[in-house]
């Protein structure tokens, strides 16, 4: 129905797709997996028309097609939910859903906004979510935005009579379990009308929803399987090249923390976001905070990171009372922050790897107050090989790296700055299984070196697996504390009970 034949695509001479052939058949869900940077998103963008291939052809229903832009894609019944969210935060939900397709609501040149809102509401009802269509998108949670994206892709259904192809690029990485179920149910019920391509780093999900699974590696399709013929661990091995570690979270390497207390919050509170939080983090200790959106855990981390100021209680960093007014003050106290929104707060995307690594502490590469470019590049080259960062060199702009590699650059920055306290806000979001494993290894290593780590993560498993202790928050207050020594990890069910 839609197929790619020997598609090639390079960015500035670096190949991202090296002759990919792949086929999407009517009424099926195709899984697409591969490490970060394997070329999955690039391939999807070629299907959607937002990237033009350098070579090869696309065929739709056997006919070759040329898609010059997203509009051509849509006209061919191809819709996409992008990996990085593509909603406009300054527009309302309804306006976003029908952006680019308003013509159906136009009467005498004017847009009938009411009709559009009704239609948008219908779309959202179809996927079973209740979101105010007049709300500004910036006011929605990440997960809600993802559902809006899906609704938006599905509007093609109304205008295109042919069977559709809906491309879902990591739609689940920010969704909760229940939302994922809603999504999957919707995908299943739409299969009569559309085919889907589903990209995810969660192999179990891929196997659950897909009929067939393609595996990509370094810009090529290296395997194709019927989902019923293969297991998760087998897929993992094909993808990463080695077997799944039994001790995924490296619990065997979890050492007991040291005595020194690096972070000591007493009765901490900030406005109406959280209050009465007591939190001690020792050198070498990983403390995970569990909690739902709105529990106040984000704000706790952002307060310690210097993005917000506390209004109650006290905060001591390495024994000294502090009151941060900017992240700079936190950085000067040896605190490093790894944000969930890598593109926004993690890296200066247009600067090079070398420049990003040295950014938080230029003293490592300055001589007599002047930046030594040679030393800076050498430092970056060193990190690139130590952390296995996949990049042609230290001068490459970070925006050209895949998510996992970007994350490693952020980590390298804080290691260079000698941070003794690290705040990890969803550190593995969007990373492939292999990359995740490497990040876990790094986190363990940092912990062994005596770094105090505060962790918020996508999954409870990760939180429990990595942490020495787990704190649970709800409605801005701490509701439970669990010890999580190796071999004595708390049960997920108990943790969830304290969360809701």
């Amino acid at each position: 129905m839609l197929s790619a034949h020997s598609i090639t695509k390079s960015f500035a001479g670096v190949p991202a797709l090296k002759g990919v052939s792949l086929e999407i058949r009517p009424n099926e869900v195709v899984g697409l997996i591969g490490e970060n940077g394997a070329g999955k998103s690039t391939l999807m963008r070629v299907f959607a028309g937002t990237h033009q291939p350098d070579g090869g052809t696309l065929t739709r229903d056997g006919q070759p097609v040329r898609l010059r832009n997203a509009r051509d894609g849509a006209a061919n019944g191809i819709g996409m939910v992008f990996q990085e969210q593509s909603l406009l935060l300054n527009l309302s939900v309804a306006e976003n859903i029908y952006l680019g397709q308003e013509s159906q609501f136009v009467r005498f040149g004017l847009v009938d906004w009411k009709a559009m809102r009704c239609a948008a509401r219908r779309q959202l009802d179809k996927i079973g979510v209740d979101i105010d269509v007049t709300a500004r998108t910036s006011e929605l949670t990440f997960a809600a935005r993802q559902m809006v994206e899906l609704a938006k892709a599905l509007t093609l259904e109304e205008t295109i009579a042919r069977p559709l192809v809906i491309l879902l690029d990591e739609p689940t990485s920010v969704l909760s379990g229940s939302d994922i179920e809603i999504l999957f149910n919707r995908v299943r019920s739409l299969k009569s009308r559309a085919s889907f391509v589903f990209v995810s780093h969660r192999l179990d999900e891929v196997l659950r929803i897909s009929d067939r699974v393609y595996t990509m590696k370094d810009g090529e399709v290296v395997a194709e399987h019927r989902a019923s013929d293969i297991s998760g661990p087998e897929l993992h091995k094909i993808m990463v090249g080695r077997g799944l570690h039994t001790a995924y979270y490296k619990e065997d390497r979890q050492l007991p923390p040291r005595d020194e207390v690096l972070v000591d919050a007493t009765d901490l509170g900030a406005g109406d976001t959280f209050s009465h939080v007591d939190l001690k983090i020792h050198a070498g200790e990983i403390v995970g905070i569990a909690g739902v959106v709105g529990s106040g855990r984000e704000e706790v981390t952002r307060t310690i990171g210097g993005f917000m100021s506390h209004t109650e209680g006290s905060l001591k960093i390495m024994g000294e009372a502090v009151h941060f007014r900017s992240p700079e003050q936190a950085v000067r106290r040896s605190i490093g922050y790894i944000p969930r929104e890598r593109r926004l707060e993690g890296l200066v995307m247009f600067l090079s790897i070398a420049e990003n690594i040295s950014l938080a502490d230029l003293s490592a590469v300055t001589k007599n107050g002047l930046i030594n470019y040679h030393a800076e590049r050498a430092l970056a080259t060193d990190w690139i090989s130590r952390l296995h960062i996949k990049a042609p060199g230290p001068d490459i702009a970070c925006r050209k790296l895949s998510g996992g590699n970007q994350q490693k650059v952020v980590l390298a920055r804080w290691m260079t700055a000698g941070s003794r306290i690290l705040i990890l806000d969803h550190p593995t979001r969007g990373l492939d299984v292999g990359a995740k494993e490497e990040v876990y290894e790094l986190v363990r290593e940092l912990s062994r070196q005596g770094v105090a780590i505060l962790l918020i993560s996508d999954t409870l498993e990760e939180t429990i697996g990595l942490s020495h202790r787990v704190i649970v928050m709800r409605d801005g207050a701490v509701t439970a504390r669990f010890d999580a020594a190796p071999g004595n990890k708390p049960d997920q069910v108990d943790v969830v009970r304290a969360m809701v």
Partner: protein, 339 residues
């Protein structure tokens, strides 16, 4: 099985908080702030000099605001895109030049009447479209494309006018400034018409929405199938249309046109747009904001004369007031990054 916990529960606490937040937001609604600044300004000036609220003065304010308002309508669309249009003065002077040279005037024998008005607006619309084409085809920043067009437009009017000031002698066009309807000069009605038209474009058409979308994130708008290039070209054309109207109004008011007829209009217009609360980064604000901004700036000028502020300190006073007005009225919660 991986349990994903981010959003297991979003009810309870967050709902309670969002009600609270909503209340707080309403109390501190910064979006309405420019309106408050405007009202406060009017009250203060009235206290200092009650003739401010005399109907005659209000009519004069409306008259002074007519050209800046029309102009700023066009500029607003460009700023909503996240771009800037420096060609304001060039386009305006071309329109003013065309209208005087084609209508009855004292430099040649043309007498095309209202056709001259259409030609003037068409000329400046074409200049706008050309600007849009230059910007999108050559892929250069609007700042430079429009700076270039500014010089070109000015050069064309200087050439066509031969440096002189040509009088506009067509009585029906002059009536824009001289005749009144319901107490207001016709030019003011035209400006209000321009405002209504701008509102229609912004709030009721695809073009208006696409302009907002591009300002909010050009790459994302493109992913949604918005033809960014076309929208940009149309937006610059639309801006040119408004600049053209403003040029005609200017010529009608002053009864003549010279090449510097638009001198100083650009920065005044940008100031009005920003004071009204439209963000220079694009995607926030709109023509209603601009109406308020234009009124603030016009009334500030009017007020300084009414209060008898010495010309020696007017520039300083105006600078300080503008800083105060913007500082008071910008919606800083939305505008995280101010550039």
């Amino acid at each position: 099985m991986t349990a994903n916990i981010d959003n297991l529960k979003a009810g309870g606490a967050s709902e309670r908080r969002s009600a609270l937040l909503g209340l707080a937001r309403r109390l501190t609604n910064k979006r309405a702030a420019p309106l408050f600044v405007l009202i406060a300004l009017c009250v203060l000036i009235t206290i200092a000099n009650p003739s401010f609220i005399e109907p005659r003065n209000l009519v004069r304010i409306a008259n002074s605001a007519a050209v800046p308002l029309t102009l700023a309508m066009g500029l607003t669309f460009i700023i909503l895109l996240g771009s800037i249009d420096l060609s304001v003065e060039g386009s305006l002077s071309v329109a003013a030049m065309v209208v005087v040279l084609l209508a009855a005037n004292d430099a040649n024998t043309n007498q095309f009447g209202w056709l001259a008005v259409f030609a003037a607006i068409a000329a400046s619309t074409v200049m706008g479209l050309a600007t849009g084409l230059i910007q999108t085809m050559l892929r250069i920043p609007s700042f430079m494309a429009t700076l270039g067009v500014w010089f070109i437009g000015l050069g064309i009017s200087v050439y066509m006018l031969g440096g002189s000031a040509v009088r506009l002698m067509d009585p029906s066009i002059r009536n824009l400034a001289l005749a009144r309807f319901a107490g207001l000069p016709l030019g003011v009605w035209v400006a209000l018409g321009a405002f209504a038209f701008a509102c229609t474009i912004q709030y009721h058409t695809r073009l208006g929405r696409y302009i907002m979308a591009i300002g909010g994130g050009e790459d994302l708008a493109e992913l949604s199938g918005v033809n960014v290039r076309r929208v940009r070209i149309l937006a610059f054309g639309l801006a040119g249309f408004f600049f053209g109207m403003a040029g005609v109004l200017s010529a009608a008011q002053l009864g003549r046109s010279d090449a510097v007829i638009a001198d100083g209009r650009l920065f005044a217009a940008v100031t009005a747009v920003v004071v009204g609360g439209t963000a220079l980064t694009g995607g926030e604000g709109g023509v209603v904001n601009t109406l308020i901004g234009v009124l603030i700036v016009t009334i500030l000028g009017n007020g300084m004369i009414l209060l008898g502020v010495s010309p020696y300190v007017q520039q300083t006073a105006q600078g300080l007031m503008i800083i105060a007005a913007v500082a008071l009225s910008l919606d800083r919660i939305r505008l995280q990054i101010v550039k």
